[in-house]
Amino acid sequence: MTERITPGDVAHVADLARLSLTDDELEAFTVQLADILDHAADLDALDLTDVEPTAHPLPLVNVFRADVIGPTSDRDEVLAAAPSVEEAQFKVPPVLGEGQ
């Protein structure tokens, strides 16, 4: 199908997915992901030239409702679930670190 996934590839996708891996984890995940992707190589046996992709089992169309306000979640109750809030807002650490 394509070249085998490398430790460098796995480190890259881990970074994209905001996951930190130890060296041992990186090694183990690389082997496991390569096995799974190797299995997917059996799809190469199929001629898919003129086949349309299916993203969803239902023929999805936009679903509209009347533009009427219904019950909504209570703001304080939603905020109560957050690890940190301030003045009705979710609070996070600085987006840019020192020197950025």
Partner: protein, 480 residues
């Protein structure tokens, strides 16, 4: 006692909901430490709900078709005011501010929620060994897995803790544990049951469905939870099928095809005892007046490969929301980016990380066409092959699981070995079709074998008719 009989007894006043509940809480107390089907048992809340049902019966009201019936719900369905964990550390401390639609419907039908059941973290797994809160054991042999990912819901019904439970099925997560625990498990047509409040794994595949000890009880529960929900934009607007009224109609004149590719001849790994039970099930359907023959649905063999690209791809997107900002776990760090990484690294288990990375890879630039694009095209082939097959047959048949329940720890070292246990169940999810597992005797090890009945979209009525015939003809099940 069946759920139908329990509800009838409670509605008529012959039994109190409270006494029914206490009996089930006693059985939970006796064996739950050994089985670990539940993440939480809600004894106090359940007693309050049962007393309310009894009060309504005394007042001459009808609490509904599941009056006083104890039920358990997989812990990836939101329950207002009650923690919903997905058996993951990343949702630590999260208490949903709303109920899933299915939870609302259970309550409206008079059912008593007795607990939230264990699962593979975020429903990713086939053995319930990926839970952050420990494994669930198979009630029929506690050295074996209950299957997964809805292993807690299957075990709770098999152990007699509850007559009914709900699971979710993305690639077989209701049907496979049902087969391994010797109970009935149903994955309805995609869109037949609202997903509102079901924590998303792979949104184009996820579907909620019932576990029960009998086909009739599974029908009763599905009738309660099915039907249009404006809160789920993929919910089917048409009214759901009436299942109870067709259960005794038999299969006379039905045409049923055994999927060759999923039943042994074309596929390695279907155990001999499972193939033998499937052959006996086919004979039982034939004896009941159906025409049964082997048929080819060629692309179903490619379902597994396509699924293990599509489901992780959708999961990598769905699980991006767990970033330590709005709910659940936060591991503090000096910057937001570091906080996201530290939180996700500490909060997710290995299988979830594996699938997030696999999905991220399959969707990334340079690999999208080779993996995700190709898998979506294979999905089309599977839909088309099923359409051709259903031009000739009313129903299809296969094993549910290639083997009976395997041992705890047997497949945890090699993810691909674990994934292969889903080979027979995945095609229905990719096509959005209903299918169900019916217990049909035992394997050489004395553990249950499940036969899978597959139907076209909205074909639940015919599927349940065949399931009822199989149930009536089934050889004795496993002794517990």
């Amino acid at each position: 006692m069946s759920a139908r009989d329990l509800a009838e007894a409670v509605r008529s006043g012959a039994r109190s909901a409270r006494s029914v509940l206490e009996e089930h809480l006693d059985s939970i107390a006796a064996r739950e430490p050994e089985i670990h089907a539940f993440n939480v048992v809600l004894a106090d809340e359940a007693r309050t709900a049962a007393d309310e049902v009894d009060r309504r019966v005394a007042a001459g009201e009808d609490p509904g078709p599941l009056a006083g019936v104890p039920v358990a719900v997989k812990d990836n369905m939101c329950t207002r005011g009650i923690p919903t964990t997905c058996s993951s550390r990343i949702l630590e401390g999260w208490i949903p501010p709303y109920d899933a639609t299915v939870v609302d419907r259970l309550a409206a039908a008079g059912a008593i929620l007795v607990g939230k059941t264990n699962l593979d973290e975020f429903a990713m797994g086939s053995s319930t060994e990926n839970s952050a809160f420990g494994v669930t054991r198979n009630p029929l042999d506690t050295t074996k897995v209950p299957g997964g990912s809805s292993g807690g819901s299957a075990a709770a019904v098999a152990a007699g803790f509850v007559p009914l439970s709900l699971g979710s099925d993305t690639g077989g997560s209701i049907r496979q544990p049902a087969a391994l625990c010797g109970v009935v498990g149903v994955k309805p047509t995609y869109g037949a049951v609202s997903r509102y409040g079901l924590v998303a794994f792979a949104s184009s595949l996820d579907q909620i469905g019932p576990f029960a000890r009998t086909v009739s009880d599974a029908a009763l529960l599905l009738e309660v939870i099915a039907g249009h929900d404006p809160l789920d934009s993929t919910s089917i607007p048409e009214p759901p099928a009436d299942l109870t009224s067709v259960l005794d109609q038999g299969v006379e004149g039905m045409r049923i095809g055994i999927i060759e590719e999923l039943s042994g001849d074309g596929l390695e790994g279907i155990a001999g005892d499972v193939r033998a039970r499937l052959a006996e099930a086919a004979a039982a359907l034939e004896a009941a007046g159906a025409t049964v023959e082997t048929t080819s649905v060629p692309s179903t063999v490619y379902g597994l490969s396509a699924y293990y690209v599509i489901a992780p791809a959708e999961a990598s997107s769905n699980l991006a929301r767990y970033d330590g900002v709005r709910f659940g776990l936060r591991v503090d760090a000096p910057t937001s980016g570091d906080m996201h990484s530290a939180t996700r690294t500490a909060g997710f288990g290995d299988e979830v990380k594996r699938r997030i990375m696999l999905g991220t890879y399959a969707l990334s630039a340079g690999y999208y066409d080779a993996y995700y694009g190709k898998s979506q095209k294979v999905r089309t082939l599977i839909v088309e092959d099923f359409a051709r097959a259903y031009g000739r047959y009313d129903l299809l048949l296969s094993p549910t699981s290639p083997t009976t329940a395997f041992s705890l720890g047997e497949k945890t070292a090699d993810p691909m070995t674990m994934y292969l246990t889903d080979v027979c169940t995945i095609p229905s999810n990719l096509a959005g079709h209903p299918s169900m597992s019916v217990p049909f005797g035992v394997g050489d090890d004395g553990m249950p074998v499940g036969v899978q009945v597959l139907a076209p979209a909205m074909g639940e009525s015919a599927m349940f008719r065949a399931a009822a015939v199989l149930e009536a003809a089934a050889p004795p099940g496993a002794a517990s």
